[in-house]
Subunit: 674 residues, 2 copies
């Protein structure tokens, strides 16, 4: 009779083991990560498992319990001292007695409240780079005068099966007193990241220590977002966000690069600013999560190439012009202290790889989280900022590019534009019959035509229009026939509606009249057209590379993707035709990717490998890009049919000939780097 | 016909290679370290070889030249631009045409002026942990947007056959400008030390860089000695020494440990003091050698355990009492910046392993340099300081211990004692007939009885007596019959000579009369007896462990060993009987060991392995040690015959019964830790 078959979930790894094998040992032999801090002493409770009943019980009536050893003394003790939920067992105590399906609870479902609009309650299997290892160290022996560090390493190698173990220099100074405080029992934090060298002791605490934290951080041009996470349970202890203080040096990326080029201390100032902001967030999440900053042992960062470089202290000037050379594209392994992080003195730092000069570690993070490379279908992943980072692909092949959308989608370069903040118009509807608008303002519950709006809005005011509002107002203007397919505001409508008013040689649409009016000018429409054309041309280029005429799934990442209504994005032709059901916001998927890389080294290897394999497309070098760009100026787009869009909205019935208001080529030249 | 046989000297490695194989490639295949910075471009001249004529030319008349390709264009260019000594060839140009014996010039014979009284003109084969690699890096390519660091790594792996290469975080910030300054040709310094992780780029210079330095430093309790060495040629660019400023915290080791225990900032103060002194020496050797401190890329340190710990910033308190636990006994790999060294920002630091709580990295260095473990005969290696570090062994087995000699040998605890400095008496002769002394003073050419001494000594004065002077005066007093075998100054001689004078209940010997007299008191004799008994008892214990009654070779290391006359050491019974021809000073062999470990990683592996294998003997735990100690109080020693000593000196003919002046046991207890 063959040995019992054991299947571990959710990994699906399986193997046969002799009766009596500890579940923990079986898991390790299969490479299933089951945490254990105490090394099988029944102290930490980290190695809990659950047994799924019924499976494998095909022949005859057997219950799962029969296939696992009886509740042991170790488990009894643990359950009395702490708590062991019904059905849970300790895998360092329970042994295999028959076929089993074992659940390794991951305890981490990415929380919809934390990562906004996360598409799925995704479960991240854990296998962090930090191991907490409790160990009892031999006392000093004059007959065998090994140093304390050497005996600690010896004990860890003996009990935890490390073949080789180094000790971080910074740990040596405090080691002797820690060992004596713990009466020769200590818990060591071991950084085990083959890419950065042999496993290494980076911290030691006296006695038994059952906590270890990490931070995952997305450094955006506008916003920095951070999660503080237990490396032992995957629980998010706290999350926080803050504005990137580099905004004072320049709103968008290129103005920050310019600042560095123009100011001798520019790079150092911006590096200091972002590091200070990150440290402020560390302080905040530590307070919110009730966590000691010395317990933060690993840190993972993502960001676009300019943010990535500035954070690491690297001059981003080369990213400001062709050939857009990154200082480093592969993942960076360093010490958190190297960038001045106020966490454990020997904590580690990891940054995801950058894909290309304009497609950064943030895009790599988003890719890791959304996983186009894990799809059977063709998935489009778009992260819109000053540059759109675009990834298109499936299991077989992934292509990526960046397209220079400019800051219009973020409200910049728009006459009434502003960043998303209380007072900004974020939703717009226009009545096609009357051409009268109604809108919603951030910070105000009611729509503008609802009772009580004026009172409610009185306190915050209506100060401008943010990115999602701009998309909607222009899409609605198009759907209401106010602007043509070529983007021209129809001046003739001024006869029909007082909302259409002359503005120099062109016309504007008055979205909000009265005091501090907000209008959409012809230039605003042009700015959005340029931005959306750049985005769409990038998408189209990648579709051409992949040889597809449509995509199956679209994920819109970042703040932009979280607030924009996919329907309007499609009306404007920002994204290609696709079942609206299959279009979704990805939330802060870059940050989610950082979180995955923090909690599981395997994800680091996955994204490092995939980033090498991605085909990078540089729009500036692609002869077809200009043609795609010009064709994408129209609403939705001149050349692409959007059959599935019709089911979502009523497109205006007309054939609008171009009125010759072509773009000055100079303007286009400013945006599209060549 | 088989391929030509090629033998490389001095390594003796040999192999057969097809006709036409480049000598450089052949060397690499055999693991013979032939430096090459330019990667075979004929630029650096580091790969020079010489061909030994005549060998292998057995059959017929062939000259060595026929067996090597003709002088090539690359060599011609190099010889024109720089210089190529007659007979020298570039191994990146010369190819194998027949059997050859090839000399790889090491250019490094430890200079007798630099390391005093080095026993041999030892040749250190080089294989340093730092490689200088010139490389031409691909320019950035938008079609393949790899980072600059990634392309640098790619080029190095391609041209220099690294399988894996990391880049130090600190290099990233300046990398892009360096690559552009060098027009994509740079020289990278690569730290290749398998024990501390994968090979790693630690510095990059624009263009071709043909220099790289290291420092080897011995941190003694009294003196810090440093060599600045070219890692590419082995040439010692400068050497310097300075007093250890920790002396102001305590003369000897135990008083420094006490200082740490008594003062909250004691450890930090002493660490800062020794690091500042080391940095001063770095500044000095850089000036003397005309070397830029940024070109110092590797550093190796040795020191006794207390010095080692304080330099690394580790509290030495545990070394002050049983069980004398080291914080770390194995070799330490760190960054020079970790200890605040003002050298290249990413330079490395290596400390040799410590053997035991009282047998430090300095003893490991001395062992590496003198090589008892490479001897067929039984070699005794003694380094005398406040503790004597004693190593005894041969190829088969090495044993080591430390014995608490106290500071008497260094002039402390002696009434007229002082450190070796101008004005100190260092040599003494006593006429057995008249009991009149003559002596030599440091800084004065003449002996005290020679014409012109008074004038010459006038400027420096005669200020005291240093370690070697004390040894000699007591040995001479014994040989002249002034003191008995039991160490008692014979008061009866006061009738015969005015040099013998009463001093309390005992007598003194007046070495220098007149103003500022210098006398040897009974207590001085006792102090030296105690010290020498401790040393001899340690030696005897190791001889017992090895089961030998005599040793074949003795090396006396350190300043003490450099100045002491072996004959007098034997008269006093500091060392066991041995052919005087086989007794020699080892010079600063600890520092020489550091130098070896700096210039050749293989020596690091050798000493790391040997230190693990050494049998460590803790005198405090050895029941026989006390008996050996008591018996060793006599001059030369009560129980050991010194047959070979008789041929060197005329021993006084007498049988001196003990006069009962036994040592108070309390005093002994203070010295011998139990």
């Amino acid at each position: 009779m063959s040995d019992p078959l054991v299947l571990f979930m959710p990994s699906g790894k399986r193997g046969r083991f002799p009766v009596g094998t500890l579940v923990l040992d079986a898991a390790r032999q299969l490479g299933v990560h089951v945490e254990s801090v105490c090394g099988g002493r029944g102290m930490c409770g980290r190695c809990q498992i659950e047994v799924q009943e019924g499976h494998f019980a095909k022949h005859g009536v057997t219950s799962a319990e029969d296939h696992l050893s009886a509740f042991g003394a170790k488990e009894q003790r643990y359950a009395e001292k702490r708590e062991l939920m019904p059905g849970r067992r300790l895998s360092c105590s329970a042994s295999i007695q028959g076929d089993l399906v074992i659940d390794v609870p991951q305890d981490l479902v990415i929380n919809a409240q934390v990562v906004r609009k996360s598409a799925s309650g995704r479960t991240i299997e854990r296998n962090p780079a930090i191991h907490m290892c409790y160990v009892e160290v031999d006392e000093p022996d004059m007959h065998r005068p090994l140093g304390d560090a050497d005996r600690l390493i010896g004990a860890l190698c003996r009990d935890w099966k490390f073949e080789r173990l180094e000790i971080e220099f910074g740990v040596l100074a405090g080691l002797q007193s820690t060992l004596r405080k713990g009466n020769w029992a200590v818990t060591a934090a071991i950084h085990d990241e083959p890419r950065s060298g042999p496993p290494r002791i980076i911290a030691v605490w006296p006695g038994f220590k059952n906590e270890a934290y990490g931070i995952a951080c997305d450094i955006g041009s506008t916003t920095i977002a951070m999660h503080l996470v237990s490396l032992l349970s995957g629980r998010i202890a706290a999350s926080a966000g803050a504005s990137n203080p580099q905004i004072r040096f320049g709103e968008d990326l290129m103005s920050r690069v310019s600042y560095v080029m123009m100011n001798p201390d520019g790079r150092a100032d911006m590096t200091a600013a972002v590091r200070a902001a990150v440290n402020d967030l560390v302080a905040r999440v530590c307070v919110d999560g009730g966590v000691n900053r010395d317990d933060i042992l690993d840190t993972v960062f993502v960001g676009n190439p300019v943010m990535h470089h500035l954070f690491l202290g690297v001059d981003p000037t080369e990213l400001g012009g062709a050939p857009f050379a990154l200082a480093v594209s592969s993942a960076v392994h360093a010490r958190a202290a190297d960038v001045g992080l106020a966490v454990n003195a020997n904590a580690r730092l990891y940054t995801l790889p950058c894909i290309a000069g304009h497609v950064g570690a943030d895009a790599a993070g988003a890719m890791l989280a959304e996983g186009p490379h894990r799809q059977d279908v063709m998935m489009l992943l778009v992260d819109v900022g000053t540059n759109a980072e675009i990834v298109l692909g499936n299991r077989a092949r992934v292509v990526a590019c960046s397209s220079p959308t400019g800051p219009a989608f973020e409200g910049a370069e728009i006459s009434g534009g502003q960043r998303a903040a209380p007072g900004a118009i974020e939703r717009v509807r226009i009545d096609p019959a009357t051409l009268e608008p109604r809108y919603r303002v951030i910070g105000v519950e009611q729509w503008s035509d609802a009772p009580g709006f004026a009172e409610a809005a009185g306190s915050v005011g209506v100060t401008g229009i943010c990115g999602s509002g701009i998309i909607e107002v222009i899409a609605e203007m198009f759907l209401a026939g106010i602007i043509s397919e070529d983007g021209v505001i129809n001046g003739k409508l001024s006869e029909k509606s007082a909302r259409i008013v002359p503005h120099g040689r062109t016309f504007s649409y008055v979205l909000k009249a009265g005091e501090s009016p907000i209008s959409i000018t012809q230039n605003d429409v042009r700015a959005i057209q340029l931005a959306k054309a750049a985005l769409y041309a990038g998408v189209k280029l990648l579709m051409q590379k992949q040889g597809v005429a449509a995509v199956d799934k679209i994920r819109l990442a970042g703040a932009f993707g979280s607030f924009i209504d996919p329907k309007y994005a499609m009306v404007l032709g920002l994204i290609p035709d696709c079942d609206l059901d299959q279009v979704g916001a990805a939330g802060n998927s870059a940050g989610e990717g950082a979180l995955m890389a923090l909690l599981n080294r395997d994800y680091r290897r996955e994204i490092e490998t995939k980033v090498r394999e991605i085909e990078k497309v540089e729009t500036a070098l692609e002869p077809d890009f200009q043609a795609f760009f010009v064709n994408a100026m129209a609403l939705p787009n001149k050349v692409d049919p959007f059959p599935r869009l019709a089911s979502a909205v009523t497109l205006p019935d007309r054939a609008g000939p171009s009125d010759g208001d072509a773009l000055p080529s100079g303007r286009r030249g400013r945006r599209i780097r060549t």
